[in-house]
Every structure is written in structure tokens, then in C-alpha cells.
């Protein structure tokens, strides 16, 4: 193709190269696939330290289970300090999670894929079975407005069931069974809601200004 033709068609080529904005995931499993496909490094670990420097925040992980692109031991994530606005706590020391990380940039920086969503909490049930708290991933699943979040009452899947999906980056077609979260986790669809009888309202009122 001649250079002039490329020049002439460049807007169309460029427009074609633009991809559609990411749509919702079809399921929690699809969300895991999505995260794993976009991650350069995946592991199960625990945040053991956070060190703030002038331009970089270093988050130290103890790696318990390497999954993709990591051999174990420890991992230091270096994030742009601009992602740590003052007073905002992105991660908590002690947090156990299945962590999806972008590849390291030329500046030596990286971050968790899709922010908090790429840090999937890991916990154990009473028998020591490791579970993923996938409630936040459930919010990535397409649903009509007003429809309840899918399966949040069973907000967990077993880590061992999820890892094949992540390791294969979606090549393994498997839908992990949803399980209840262990006692101690706070439900989303809380019943701690107002249950009250209001007294009579013998006044004439006007509707507040609509917004």
C-alpha cells in the first residue's frame, strides 16, 4: 500500500483500530477470565507492607500461590503516588487476595487491574477451605437497573475452582460453584433497614424541588 493511500485512509484505519468500550461481563467466571487475560502477573498473597515515597508507593506482598508470571516468595508492586490521594486507603496491610497486576511500565510502575476489582479477597471457611469473595466481581455482571446483584447471598467460590480459570486465562471452560461466605462477613443485601411506622402527617406540604 502506497504511503499516500495510507495517509488518505488513516482516519478510517485509526477509527477501526479503536475498540469498543468494555462492556459488562457475562458472569463472575467471565470477570475472572477478563481480569486474567489483561494481567501480566497473578498470585495469591497478602499485603505485608506499604511504603509511601515521594512519587511512588510500594506495596509489598507475600506470595502464597504464584498463578501467572510469578514464581513465589515476595512481590513489590510500585504504584504511581498520584493514585494514592491523601486520606485514601487503596489496600490494607494484612489483606489476603487473589491479585491481578498489569505489566510493569517503562517507568517501573504498575497497578492492580481494574482498581479494587483486581484484588479479590481471599478468606477461609471453618474447615480451612480457601474462598474468593467475589461479590465485587458480581457488580461487573450485566443486569437491568433495579435487579438484585447476582448470587450475592452465595458470595464466594472456592479458590481451587477459580485458579484453573485464571491460569488458563479463560481457556478452561469451567463455572465454579457459588458458595456462601463464611460467618463474619457482612452481607450486602442487609436487612438492617428502616422498619418503622411513621406518625400521621397532618400538614399540607409542597413537593421539594426536583433534581
Amino acid at each position: 500500500m502506497s504511503r499516500w493511500l495510507i495517509w488518505l485512509l488513516w482516519p478510517a484505519i485509526a477509527a477501526g483500530a479503536q475498540q469498543a468500550v468494555a462492556g459488562p461481563d457475562a458472569s463472575v467466571t467471565a470477570a475472572l477470565e477478563n481480569l486474567s487475560k489483561r494481567a501480566a502477573t497473578v498470585f495469591v498473597g497478602q499485603v505485608v507492607g506499604i511504603r509511601r515515597d515521594a512519587g511512588v508507593v510500594e506495596i509489598q506482598f507475600r506470595v502464597d500461590t504464584p498463578v501467572v508470571g510469578q514464581t513465589g516468595g515476595s512481590y513489590t508492586l510500585r504504584e504511581w503516588a498520584g493514585m494514592w490521594p491523601m486520606g485514601q486507603v487503596r489496600y490494607r496491610i494484612g489483606e489476603h487476595a487473589l491479585v491481578f497486576l498489569h505489566g510493569t511500565s517503562s517507568a517501573g510502575l504498575s497497578s492492580v487491574v481494574d482498581g479494587s476489582e483486581g484484588m479479590v479477597p481471599v478468606m477461609a471457611d471453618g474447615k480451612g477451605t480457601l474462598l474468593l469473595d467475589v461479590r465485587r466481581l458480581s457488580t461487573r455482571v450485566e443486569r437491568p437497573i433495579g435487579e438484585p446483584l447476582a448470587d450475592v447471598s452465595d458470595g464466594a467460590i472456592a479458590l481451587k475452582d477459580a485458579l484453573p480459570v485464571v491460569q488458563s486465562r479463560g481457556a478452561v471452560i469451567k463455572r465454579p460453584v457459588r458458595r456462601p461466605l463464611p460467618p463474619g462477613t457482612t452481607p450486602i443485601l442487609s436487612t438492617w433497614r428502616e422498619v418503622m411506622r411513621l406518625p400521621a402527617t397532618p400538614i399540607v406540604e409542597q413537593v421539594p424541588d426536583a433534581q
Binding site: 485509526a14 475498540q19 504498575s110 474447615k127 463474619g184 400538614i203 406540604e205
Partner: protein, 966 residues
């Protein structure tokens, strides 16, 4: 010119980590702290109410020109220019250069941006808007692939507030628009506009907000009104399709809650309206609105922080809708430090510890055209709203509320006014002892079982405990945060742990776990301790990581510690060991040299386990092996480094001598559980050897253990240990006897069967005259499984007028014979009841008959006739009730007259009247058979007639005449 070190200079200016206090839903994202700030404890807004933004001079990408991008940015910013807020968000111009990876780089310590984009240029350019045409800036900052279009929900617009001054003002912010997220499709650009609108809200200092959260969760179907009041600053989008702006109505119009937050940060007041906006479209923030403040408390008066408080509008005859919100503890200290990490750090200087602030929230602008029915109600913060989605910069996980939701009603709220309401959660925990759990200099003794409870209350309170640890054992301290029901929780106290050698001061001198809930099991903070070479006394503290303390901050503490293993030597073929310590529980595992052993018995202070052979354990002959107790649920461990050694010790032999064939509940079996220990030759008794006897499962007690279910006995001269066994509940009972040193053991299973029990009273029911006083001996017979129940206690009860004495225990024949005493027994049925084994009962009745129902008849002697000189026989009367039951205890009055013999009457005229020779009156009482015996009043040797009349009760009467002929 590029600015190297913009971040460093910015941090020098504001103090890196000088973290503002809690941002709150429908309110500020940042609030200044109390120690390091020029303007302490204030919501943080931009330093100017007109923070102009400057756009990148380049195109957004190949299809979206610079002009198109500027128009889109202007539209996104325009949403924030509202009459009731002083904010004016407009473009100030363009940046000096197109920003890309060519002029954004890392210099080895920090990111370097063009000089005019950097935070140090904030007075000229408060907000820099970068068009990241190829995504290279985002990739540089967030990592390779971060700008990929598949991640546009998160990286379509990247915002950063990168400078806040000590005067508690935002200086500078940056917005990076990802050129890879827009293309030829118009919706893509609209989606970016929506994301940018929300990002503008963030850089202006607004927090995310939780209002009508059911729109997001779907917990209850949202109404159209609720959807219309769902704030633009909701934390997480509902994804109803490819473009989330299509999942919200009027996506570019602020809601009441957004306006309330703006009014808090950028209010229009009389002064600035006149000074700066005279002639503009601005109006007072208080116009057509009410200003509400709410305060929620525990019954103790302590404020309850981290509740989301919404203002709900109650239209007449229509569904309610939440309008605005705030989070309690708006200006309260988020972190006051703790004994483990010391006082709050510079970066944790947030808020202030003023008591009323803990439960208070201010909601400055709730719409109200004239007068409206409003009420504030508290609710939990959605647990998903943490980290990037937090509705306030709470440093701790949101606290689950206690008690019922609190409602503060503001009926007929008038526009332009403000009201303050305070309410206590009456059913929230109300106990806050604040003492009794030691101090650092005088710690309380931890429980010998290794398990105990505690509470962190009030604010700043810590628990101090002491424990003694032997050398050579590792151990674990665990603390589980509990909610008010006693269940583990991740959303109450956040316990941390520190350990000192007893007597030490300052920060922990031995070990610490400075961050809460590091264990995998929810709610558990864990600190694993190394073994020491000498016995030591330790002091340890349980504290809240953030220095908080509340009536609902309960915890369960545990010291998991194995201090010894016996015996010291186990046969190479394996055997049984006893691990002594504390903090054990059912389900704990034992590992010997890394190889699992079989747990036989487990209690808080002891585990009996069967260990594998030396070969299976991979151990060496004569070399001490490691014995570890693990709690798989929490990951807690305790380890005795030199637990025991495998050796040539031959295990003894345990022989079962006798055992009960079966058990009966509450009955001691006749046959004892007896085991004999013999040397390996099978003949020689092992004398003086400790043997642990125990009830492994089922319900029974052992006589030799003083009624306990386990104890250690010592073999006698014949190698024998024995104990009686008493069943305590139906079902299988497993009895075990184990040589503590050698490991030989015997286990048998016997069945405690449900016994067939019968109780009866053979004594017939009794009828007695009302008002009588008498007594009876009755007989109760009890059997169990057809045999006399011997020695079983009998519990007697009696109704009014009756009492029971004796007969409290069945005799050798299974009988009990109490005496029942009636004292002036009232008319009616009385009952005496005897119960055995608690529930097996029988009754005996006494019927007291009213005097009106007594009847009397002549039983014998009525027909007798004798000649003078022969004595009349006694006359027997019978007293009954109207039905014919013999009646005892009835008083009978007897009247007798003796008439002279008159012979036969004349054929003509009246009979001659006979003279009365004698008369008499007597009284008697009917015996147990209701009988009364009367001796006729006969005059000796004379012909005569003896007349007898008997009266009982009010209607009982009988009379007879007995002739004594010449």
C-alpha cells in the same frame, strides 16, 4: 520547561501523608486533621471556588479532535455549575504542550510532567486535563496494558488529586482522558463525558455517596422516584449494558445529595453572594432547603460512628425516597494510635476526639420548597464501599451498626431552617466496663483454658493479659472480633496484638501484630510466637488498631500453647501421646515430624493422639521429633520442638478385664470398667503406671474420677485400674483407657439404653369425711426394665390439707411407703403425687366428702330379738357417701332409749304407753372402713325394747328397735 520533582515539592508543601480526615457520603472527600494543619478539622475544598481547568492542546485521538474533546469536557464540567453552590468550573485555557509518554517519564524517584501540568503550578493551572491520545501516559503511570480499551470502565478517565495544602485546601488535580476509549461511536464519547463528570466531582473534593442504595443492590425494587434521586456520586455503576450512563436517568444532572455536598464545600452565603456573585444566577444554598444535623448514640451516651444517615422524604400517600445523606463521625478522629504501634502517626492525624463528634453528621442542604415531612434514618455502609469505592476515607473497615436503625423525625420541616436531632439506640449494647482487664504494669491473668472473652470500650481502651510459657514451645495468640450476638465479624473491633516480657514498658519488646485480621478466618487476628530457651512470663495487649473502643467491640481471646508431651519415648511402631497445654478445641490436628497423627480425645487443655510409626513419620531412632498442634480453621499452631523420641520401648499390653454390658441413664452399672496393664510378655503386671480413663464420646461419668468424664488412675499391684460407670444419657458411650507412658489402650463401646420405667401406688383411693384429721400409709412401687428400682429418690407433693412424710427413697424391693396426713381436710379431691427420675410419676387420691353427703345404714344387728336374760349383740352401722363409698372419719351421734315391755296392744283403744326405763347419748367416728359399732343399752333381766337412732352429717339418719321379750 518540565518540572522535575513536582510531587516532591507538592509533598514538601503539604506534608506527605498528612492525610485529611474522613470524607463522608454526600459530603467531603477530605477533612483536615487536628495536629498538623493550619486549619484543623475542616472539610477540604479547592483553594478557590473557581478552579479553572486547562486542556491538552492535542486531539483526544484520531477521531475526536481537540475541539470536540474540549466541548465534551466543558459539558461534563457544566453539570457542576449550579445556582446553590459557589463553585464555578470553567475552562481557563490550554496547556502549553500535548502531553504524552514523550514528555512524561520517571526520573528514578518520581514521575516528571511538563512544568505547567505539575502541582507546583497550581496557582496558574489548578486542574490539568490531559488528552492521552494513544494511552501511553496511562500505561506509563499504571502499567503496561492499563489503557487497553477492555479496561475503559476504570481507565477511561483517570483522576488524581495530587496536592493539598496545610491550610486544608485542594491545590491541584489532574484528569487524564484515555484516547483509546473513544472512537467513531457517539455513545463512547458520552460515556467518557459521564465518567469525567464524576471525576470532576472527585477532584472538587466530593466523596462517593450512598443514597437509595437499593438502586444499586436491587435489595428492594427501586421506584422511579428513588432512581431519580440516586446521586451522580454513587460509588459503583449499575451495568445494564455497554454504557453505564444509559443506566441512570438524566446522567448529567446533579441530584439533591450532590447539591448538598457542594453546599457543604462551596456554600453560597450572604457574604459571597453579595461580594462575588452579585448579578449572577447564584442563590443562597439555604434557599428552599433545610439544614439537618443528626447524632446517634449507644445507650451509654457514646456516639455511634460510621453509620450512613439518609434524609428521607415522606410525601403524603406516596412512596418514600431518600434525598440526601451523611456519615456519622464526620469530624471524629479516625485513628488515635494504640499501644502496639504507638501514638497516631503523622499520616494518620485525622479528625479530633471530641465526644459529640463520634456520632454526628451534618447534611447541609436537603431540598424543601416550603414545608416537608422529612426524617433521618441510619443504615449500614454497604460493605462493598471500601478502598477506591469508599464513601468516606475511613481508615478502618466500615463498622456494622448496633441495635435497630435510628430515626430522627423532622415533620413539617420549614425551608431555610436548620434542626439538630439526637437519638440513642436503645437496643444496642450498653455495657462499657472500661476496666477489669489489667494494665500494662499489672496485667490480668489469662484464663487457664486458653479461652476467654473481653471488650474494648471506651475509646482508647486496651486489654492487658499475662501468660507463662515454657521453653521450647512455639505458641499463638489469637483474637476474634465478635458482634453483639457473639459471632465472629470483620466489621467491629479491629484487634491488634503486642507482646512484652513482663515488666517491660514502651512499645512491644518481644513481638507484635500491628494490623488486624491477618488470619484467613474472618475476624481473626493472629500472632505466632517463637519458642524461647527459658521459661518466661509475657504480657500482651489486645487493642483496636485505630484506637477506637465501643460497647459493641467484643472479642474472644485465645492462647494456643502446647507445653508438654508424654511419654518421652514411644515405640518405633507408634503409640499414643498426651499433649498438655491450652487453647485446644475439637477439630485441631496433630502433626508429628510433619506427618499427621490421629486425634483420639481433645479438650481445651489436653489432646490424646495416636502417632504414626517411626518409618511413617520419617523420624530417626532416638532423635526427638517435633509435635505440632494445628487449628486448620485459623491457621494457628503450637509446636513442641522435642516432643518425644522413637525408641525400642515395647508397648505394654492393655487387657480389658470387665465392662458394663450396657448402661442405664442415672444408674451406676453393676459391672465396672476395668483394664489391666501387662508387660509385653503378657503376664507381668505393670504396677503403679498412670492410665488415663475417659469417656471418649457419649454421656457417662466415671466413679473413680469423682463423677468426671476423664481422669488418670494408677495401676494397682495386679496392674489393674477400674472405675464404675454411670449412664448420663441414652446412646452409645465409648470408654477408653490408655497407658499414659506406654500408649497401650483399650476402647469399648456400651449402649446407654432408654430404660422402661414404671411407678404405681397400690393403695386404693380413700374417701374421708370433710374436716377430718387422720393419716394413712400408702405404698409406691417402682420398677426399671421389669426389675425393682432400688435406691431411687422419690419426690412427693400433696395438695392442700394433705402432707407427706417418709418414703423418700425406694427400698430393696423398689417400694416406698410414706405417711399421708390429713389435717382438717377441706371438701373436695386431694392428690398425693410421687415422682421418680424426675418425670415418672404416679398419684393417689383422697376425696373429702361434705357433711351433706354423708349417709348411714345398719350393717348388722338390726334384726335380732332375744328373751329377757339374754344380751343383745352389738349393732354395726356403715357410713358412706351418697354413692356408697365407705366414708372414714365421720362423726356419728348415737341416741338410745330403753322402753318397758308392754306386750301386745289391746284390740280396742290405744296401746298402753310404756315407761322409759333408761336413755343415753354417745358419739363415735367411723373407722377406715366407714364402720361404727354400737352396743345396745340393755337393762339386764327385764323384758324391754331398746331403741337406737344414729345421726351423721346433716342428712345421715337411721333408727332401729330391738325387742327383749319376757
Amino acid at each position: 520547561m518540565r518540572s522535575k520533582g513536582w510531587m516532591r515539592r507538592a509533598l514538601l508543601f503539604v506534608g506527605w501523608g498528612c492525610v485529611p480526615v474522613a470524607a463522608h457520603a454526600g459530603g467531603p472527600r477530605f477533612v483536615s486533621g487536628s495536629n498538623w494543619w493550619v486549619n484543623p478539622v475542616q472539610p477540604v475544598a479547592f483553594y478557590t471556588s473557581s478552579p479553572a481547568y486547562y486542556t491538552d492542546p492535542g486531539d483526544l485521538n484520531a477521531t475526536v479532535s481537540h475541539a470536540q474533546a474540549d466541548a465534551m469536557v466543558a459539558a461534563a464540567a457544566a453539570a457542576w455549575n449550579v445556582p446553590t453552590s459557589a463553585i464555578v468550573l470553567q475552562q481557563g485555557g490550554e496547556l502549553a504542550e500535548h502531553v504524552s509518554s514523550a514528555n512524561v517519564y520517571f526520573d528514578g524517584s518520581e514521575m516528571v510532567f511538563p512544568a505547567d501540568v505539575s502541582a507546583t503550578n497550581y496557582e496558574n493551572i489548578p486542574i490539568a486535563v490531559i488528552y492521552d491520545t494513544d494511552g501511553s501516559v496511562i500505561d506509563t503511570l499504571l502499567g503496561e496494558g492499563a489503557s487497553d480499551p477492555s479496561g475503559c470502565r476504570q481507565t477511561g478517565v483517570v483522576e488524581s488529586v495530587d496536592s493539598i495544602g496545610l491550610e486544608a485546601k485542594i491545590h491541584h488535580a489532574m484528569l487524564i482522558l484515555n484516547g483509546r476509549c473513544v472512537g467513531a461511536t457517539a455513545q463512547q464519547l458520552t460515556q467518557m463525558q459521564y465518567q469525567l463528570e464524576r471525576a470532576f466531582g472527585r477532584v472538587l473534593g466530593l466523596a462517593w455517596s450512598q443514597v437509595n442504595d437499593n438502586v444499586f443492590t436491587g435489595a428492594t425494587p427501586p421506584s422511579a422516584l428513588q432512581i431519580s434521586y440516586w446521586p451522580i456520586m454513587h460509588p459503583m455503576d449499575v451495568l445494564c449494558g455497554a454504557y453505564s450512563y444509559q443506566c441512570i436517568t438524566n446522567p448529567f444532572q446533579l441530584r439533591a445529595d450532590d447539591l448538598s455536598a457542594l453546599a457543604l464545600l462551596y456554600p453560597v452565603t450572604n457574604s459571597n453572594l453579595m461580594g462575588n456573585y452579585n448579578g449572577s444566577t447564584k442563590q443562597l444554598s439555604s434557599v428552599q432547603a433545610v439544614n439537618l444535623t443528626g447524632q446517634t448514640e449507644f445507650p451509654t451516651g457514646q456516639g455511634m460512628e460510621l453509620l450512613n444517615v439518609t434524609v428521607t422524604y415522606q410525601p403524603q400517600g406516596a412512596q418514600t425516597v431518600q434525598l440526601t445523606s451523611g456519615v456519622t463521625g464526620q469530624l471524629f478522629a479516625q485513628n488515635t494510635g494504640n499501644p502496639v504501634t504507638g501514638p497516631e502517626s503523622f499520616s494518620n492525624d485525622v479528625g479530633a476526639t471530641w465526644p459529640d463528634g463520634e456520632g454526628r453528621t451534618s447534611i447541609p442542604r436537603t431540598p424543601d420548597a416550603y414545608v416537608a415531612n422529612l426524617y433521618m434514618v441510619s443504615e449500614a455502609i454497604d460493605p462493598l464501599y471500601t478502598g477506591d469505592y469508599a464513601i468516606a476515607p475511613y481508615q478502618r473497615p466500615p463498622i456494622a451498626p448496633s441495635g435497630s436503625p435510628q430515626t430522627m423525625i423532622d415533620w413539617s420541616a420549614t425551608a431555610g431552617t436548620g434542626n439538630f436531632y439526637k437519638v440513642a439506640a436503645w437496643d444496642a449494647p450498653s455495657d462499657c466496663p472500661g476496666s477489669g482487664d489489667g494494665t500494662q504494669s499489672a496485667p490480668a491473668q489469662s484464663d487457664a483454658s486458653g479461652w476467654w472473652g473481653g471488650q474494648l470500650c471506651p475509646v482508647g481502651h486496651s486489654s492487658w493479659w499475662s501468660v507463662h510459657i515454657n521453653p521450647g514451645s512455639t505458641w499463638t495468640i489469637e483474637v476474634t472480633a465478635l458482634d453483639e450476638t457473639g459471632a465472629p465479624t470483620m466489621n467491629k473491633a479491629q484487634p491488634v496484638l503486642g507482646v512484652w516480657n513482663t515488666g517491660d514498658g514502651g512499645l512491644p519488646t518481644v513481638a507484635s501484630q500491628p494490623f488486624s485480621m491477618n488470619a484467613l478466618q474472618p475476624g481473626v487476628t493472629q500472632l505466632q510466637m517463637l519458642a524461647s530457651t527459658t521459661a518466661k512470663n509475657y504480657t500482651f495487649v489486645v487493642a483496636d488498631q485505630y484506637g477506637a473502643g465501643r460497647p459493641d467491640f467484643a472479642y474472644r481471646a485465645r492462647v494456643l500453647y502446647a507445653h508438654s508431651v508424654s511419654p518421652a519415648h514411644v515405640s518405633t511402631g507408634g503409640g499414643q501421646i498426651v499433649i498438655a497445654g491450652e487453647g485446644f478445641r475439637q477439630g485441631n490436628q496433630v502433626v508429628v515430624n510433619g506427618v499427621p497423627a490421629t486425634v483420639v480425645i481433645s479438650s481445651a487443655n489436653q489432646i490424646v493422639a495416636r502417632v504414626p510409626s517411626m518409618a511413617t513419620a520419617g523420624a530417626s531412632f532416638g532423635t526427638p521429633v517435633d509435635v505440632m498442634v494445628m487449628d486448620v480453621a485459623t491457621g494457628g499452631t503450637t509446636d513442641v520442638g522435642s516432643g518425644f523420641s522413637y525408641s525400642n520401648v515395647q508397648p505394654g499390653i492393655a487387657v480389658l478385664v470387665s465392662s458394663p454390658a450396657s448402661l442405664e441413664t442415672s444408674v451406676t452399672a453393676a459391672k465396672a470398667f476395668a483394664v489391666r496393664l501387662l508387660e509385653p510378655d503378657g503376664v507381668t503386671p505393670i504396677i503403679g503406671e498412670p492410665v488415663q480413663v475417659s469417656v471418649v464420646s457419649g454421656s457417662a461419668t466415671l466413679g473413680a474420677c469423682g463423677g468426671a468424664a476423664t481422669c488418670t488412675l494408677v495401676t494397682d499391684a495386679t496392674g489393674l485400674v477400674q472405675t464404675t460407670v454411670t449412664g448420663r444419657g441414652a446412646g452409645p458411650v465409648v470408654l477408653n483407657a490408655t497407658d499414659v507412658n506406654g500408649g497401650a489402650g483399650v476402647q469399648v463401646t456400651v449402649i446407654d439404653e432408654d430404660p422402661v420405667r414404671a411407678v404405681s401406688i397400690a393403695t386404693a383411693p380413700i374417701y374421708v369425711a370433710a374436716g377430718a384429721s387422720t393419716n394413712w400409709t400408702i405404698s409406691l412401687a417402682a420398677t426399671q426394665d421389669g426389675l425393682a428400682a432400688v435406691g431411687v429418690p422419690v419426690v412427693w407433693t400433696a395438695s392442700s390439707g394433705l402432707s407427706v412424710s417418709g418414703g423418700g427413697l425406694t427400698n430393696g424391693s423398689g417400694l416406698a411407703a410414706p405417711t399421708v396426713t390429713a389435717t382438717q381436710i377441706p371438701a373436695g379431691a386431694g392428690t398425693v403425687t410421687g415422682c421418680l427420675w424426675g418425670t415418672v410419676c404416679t398419684s393417689w387420691t383422697v376425696t373429702a366428702v361434705d357433711a351433706s353427703r354423708w349417709r348411714i345404714t345398719v350393717s348388722t344387728g338390726a334384726a335380732q330379738s332375744v328373751s329377757a336374760g339374754t344380751a343383745l349383740g352389738p349393732v354395726s352401722l356403715g357410713v358412706t357417701d351418697t354413692v356408697g363409698h365407705a366414708l372414714q372419719g365421720a362423726t356419728v351421734s348415737v341416741y338410745q332409749t330403753v322402753d318397758a315391755w308392754e306386750g301386745a296392744c289391746l284390740s280396742q283403744g290405744r296401746c298402753a304407753a310404756s315407761p322409759v326405763l333408761a336413755s343415753g347419748k354417745s358419739s363415735t367416728v367411723s373407722d377406715n372402713n366407714g364402720n361404727v359399732s354400737i352396743t345396745p343399752m340393755e337393762l339386764p333381766g327385764l323384758p324391754q325394747v331398746v331403741n337406737i337412732a344414729a345421726v351423721t352429717g346433716t342428712q345421715g339418719f337411721v333408727s332401729i328397735s330391738l325387742p327383749v321379750t319376757p
